[in-house]
């Protein structure tokens, strides 16, 4: 069986007809392990699979640009709006290198369905359309969620409580933070991350969670979501909004708000932020910029945003994501994404305190904020050694675990008297993606068989200690109404896979190697 030999491998990576690309063990041990397990099962099924362990950058470009892979698995985050993401992943127009549709799945019907959805202003219609899309995708399986990763709040229960997650950012969200309750006289929220932040530039980061989680607190956004994934004017910069027509939104802004440096935050700033980001083609917000034409100040408290093309879920897809930046700081800056910002000035509930690169990042409470947090400071420590985190967490040097690492330590420590945990289904998953550009992976039946061969339950139970759910639908139940249970279900069994393949005309040769039907 595959994976069976330090002795047999010649060290040069895969030799097989199929290549399963894997991340390095140190990068993510359980996933590394899971991929090896799946590859074993594929071998069992008669596929000649080799596992290529690549360091993350190489892996990413092998898959998303070179398409030099057979199977890929990583952690995919669907943030806030599933179809925007699905459109990015499966639209037939997106199959060029780097464009997002790396699986190479092409289906004009699906393209049309997604286009309709995105242009549809009516929420209920959208829900229906979304269900359709899910059904189609889960039957065609261009991509299959292996596990539905939960979001986990892991914290020192003596020091902090009331963890409420939001859909996109889980327990690191704005909503969570403004609702936290500190206990036992503690007034600092103490977290960690395995590696250092890269930048303090809200327009120049790479969208990794570690950055998003900071900038969500440092900056305000026109619209903020509550734990129902609904835009909540109570806690947003905009106290009201109105869809003027298909391509126009108007937002009413708080007028009593100010920046961390004391300057007033005005409608001018909001309009500036939108115009500046779209005019400068800030790469990070390029998807959003496509929908922004111009933003203009209507009056002191009203900003109008003109879309370049109609976007139904504008609040979720754009207004919730574009940070509002101070004009007085940014107006003179050219090439915003490459600015080296040392002390960011925002207007969010936390303000910058210090950033010791490689060691620690700290923010303090911005007392003037309309949705204040209950702790005075929040710092993140860089701690690469996972084992030391738990030590700190239990003795209270740290009081929450933002990374949400699901591993044996969590399993063993979750019952500790000092530790509290809260879980919530999230729209993120480990996916299984076959490369349809490689024959015969374009064959739906083969894909289905492979999905059946994936031991989802053992992976969840054994490798992830039962924390996640097994994957069943690409649109997670976390999306509430947008999710439907009514999709094709797949057995987990070699037998099912084998008989499906037999039915589809596949055969096995003397070495038990799978042979595609000779004649299509």
């Amino acid at each position: 069986a595959g994976g069976g030999g330090g002795d047999t491998s010649d060290g040069a990576g895969s030799e097989g007809a199929y290549t399963y690309v894997n991340n390095a063990q140190s990068y993510n041990p359980p996933r590394h392990d899971a991929i090896n397990v799946i590859a074993d099962q594929f071998s069992e099924l008669g596929l000649d699979v080799g596992v290529d362990v690549l360091e993350w950058g190489t892996l990413f470009s092998r898959v998303s640009e070179e398409y030099d892979y057979s199977f890929a698995t990583w952690h995919t985050f669907f943030v806030s709006e599933p179809v925007t993401e699905l459109n990015n992943l499966f639209n037939s127009a997106n199959t060029d290198p780097g464009q997002g549709n790396y699986s190479g799945y092409e289906n004009p019907d699906l393209d049309e369905m997604m286009a309709n959805y995105l242009a549809e202003p009516d929420e209920n219609t959208r829900i229906e359309q979304c269900h359709e899309i899910q059904r189609l995708l889960m039957d065609e399986v261009p991509m299959m969620p292996i596990t539905q990763m939960p979001q986990a709040a892991i914290y020192n229960s003596n020091q902090v409580g009331n963890w409420q997650a939001d859909l996109a950012n889980g327990f690191n969200s704005y909503w969570t933070m403004i609702n936290l309750e500190m206990k036992g006289g503690e007034n600092t929220l103490k977290g960690y991350w395995p590696e250092t932040l890269s930048t303090m530039n809200v327009l120049g980061h790479n969208d990794e969670s570690k950055h998003v989680y900071q900038f969500n607190m440092l900056y305000d956004f026109l619209v903020q979501l509550n734990n129902e994934a609904g835009p909540d004017p109570e806690v947003s910069l905009a106290t009201d909004w109105e869809r003027v027509d298909e391509t126009t939104m108007e937002y009413t802004i708080r007028t009593d708000h100010s920046w961390h440096d004391g300057e007033d935050l005005t409608a001018e700033d909001v309009a500036f932020s939108y115009n500046y980001i779209s005019e400068n083609e800030v790469p990070l917000y390029s998807t959003q910029s496509e929908y922004i034409d111009t933003a203009e100040v209507v009056d002191q408290e009203t900003v109008r945003i003109n879309m370049a093309e109609p976007l139904g879920p504008f609040n979720l897809g754009v207004a919730n994501l574009i940070p509002i930046i101070p004009e007085h700081m940014w107006a003179d800056r050219e090439n915003p994404s490459q600015q080296n910002i040392q002390e960011p000035v925002g207007s969010g509930p936390m303000m910058f305190e210090y950033w010791e690169q490689g060691s620690e990042f700290a923010m303090t409470r911005f007392d003037e904020h309309f949705a204040p947090v209950s702790f005075e400071r929040r710092f993140w420590r860089v701690i690469p050694e996972a084992s030391t985190v738990w030590e700190n967490l239990i003795n209270g040097d740290l009081n929450y675990e933002p990374f949400g690492r699901i591993d044996r330590s969590l399993d063993q420590n979750q019952d500790n008297e000092n530790i509290g945990t809260t879980f919530q289904t999230a729209p993120t998953f480990w996916m299984f993606t076959p490369n349809e550009r490689q024959e015969p992976l374009g064959d739906k039946q083969l894909r289905k068989a492979l999905v059946e061969a994936i031991p989802r339950t053992p992976i969840v139970d054994q490798i992830l200690f039962g924390f996640p759910e097994t994957g069943s639908n690409i649109v997670s139940s976390a999306f509430g109404d947008l999710h439907t249970e009514d999709v094709t279900e797949y057995e987990e069994s070699q037998e099912a896979a084998r008989s499906r393949l037999e039915e589809a005309g596949y055969t096995w040769d003397d070495n038990d190697t799978l042979q595609a039907p000779s004649d299509d």
Binding site: S9, D40, R408
Partner: protein, 326 residues
């Protein structure tokens, strides 16, 4: 020989220059020269107890490496399945030596690999890295050192600038970059180590060659008309051999340490089990935190043992080659 006839006086005149009945074969003698040199060194080496113990340790590891398939109880990268369910892994089996009823001498890793078998197979990787890197670093270093030292001048200058340049390259970072470029596998690690490590051997051998070149016995060969290669191979090489061995045995130690370091950062060969990758895995899965010392400790001990053996052999060698230390 014109002069000979003139004076007519030579003790060799009566020898028939064409007869060659009882000649001793050149190759036989060359072979013997090397054999004697090696035996001589070997004899001196094994005089010291610590060296003897080290040699035995290394020999034991070599045997383990060779017979790994017979010693190991399982393939090192084979997940240990539970019998009935087929795809369910055995979760973190405790070691049998601690009385656990699992059948795995040192238990299994978090991924379900048999630790004992990994340890056994890891010997192969360690020895491969150590020996190959050592042979090549010492070999290349010796060759370059001899050539630079013997020819001197521009050749020397060019080669020594190369060595200077290599001395400017920080070891571990360079290996990391090379491995990142070439891809994480054992051969690339070995290659990267060799690329850098021959520098010190070359430097030392060069200075030896420089002084040997001026020694009268080399001059005598030169006077007799010996060619460059003849002098390098028959006069210089055998005399720098102790240094080559010395650096070779240190090279084993360094290479193994470096491989462990590179693996520890996560650039080890994922398809090969080495002690370094074992350590890295045990750390990735926080073995220490859970008190699974049977996963974390044995590879470290093996590394230490093999490395210290390398050092001891090297040191023993140093003592015999440098009489002042005796």
């Amino acid at each position: 020989m014109a002069q000979e006839e003139q004076t007519g006086r030579s003790i060799f005149t009566d020898l028939d220059d064409s007869s060659s009945s009882k000649e001793i074969s050149k190759w036989q003698r060359t072979a013997r020269l090397w054999r004697e040199t090696l035996r001589d060194h070997w004899g001196k080496l094994t005089d010291e107890l610590s060296v003897k113990l080290s040699l035995i340790t290394v020999a034991a590891f070599v045997l383990i490496a060779i017979f790994a398939p017979f010693i190991a109880t399982h393939p090192p990268l084979q997940r240990q399945y539970q019998s009935d369910a087929g795809i369910i892994m055995d979760k973190w089996a405790e070691p049998a030596i601690l009385g656990a009823d699992t059948g795995y001498i040192l238990g299994t890793t978090a991924e379900g690999f048999d630790i004992f078998s990994q340890l056994v197979y890891g010997t192969r990787a360690a020895l491969m890295v150590g020996l190959i890197a050592a042979v090549f670093t010492a070999g290349i270093g010796t060759l370059v050192g001899l050539i630079a030292g013997y020819y001197g001048g521009k050749v020397d200058d060019a080669l020594m600038r190369l060595v200077d340049f290599l001395y400017g390259m920080p070891l571990l970072p360079t290996v990391i970059v090379l491995v990142a470029v070439l891809g994480p596998n054992l051969w690339n690690i070995i290659f990267a180590l060799i690329v850098l490590q021959w520098r010190s051997t070359a430097r030392v051998i060069r200075s030896q060659a420089l002084s040997l070149r001026e020694r009268p016995f080399v001059k005598a060969a030169e006077v007799a008309g010996a060619g460059d290669w003849h002098i390098i191979s028959r006069h210089l090489a055998p005399n720098v051999l102790p240094m080559t061995f010395l650096y070779g045995s240190f090279g084993i130690a360094w290479a193994i340490l470096a491989e462990a370091g590179v693996s520890f950062i996560g650039l080890g060969d994922p398809n090969t089990v080495s002690w370094g990758t074992m350590l890295q895995a045990s750390r990735a899965y926080s073995a220490l935190e859970f008190g699974a010392w049977w996963w974390f400790v044995p590879p470290g001990i093996c590394i230490g043992l093999l490395v210290i053996s390398g050092f001891l052999i090297g040191r023993g060698y140093e003592e015999i080659t440098n009489p002042k230390l005796q």
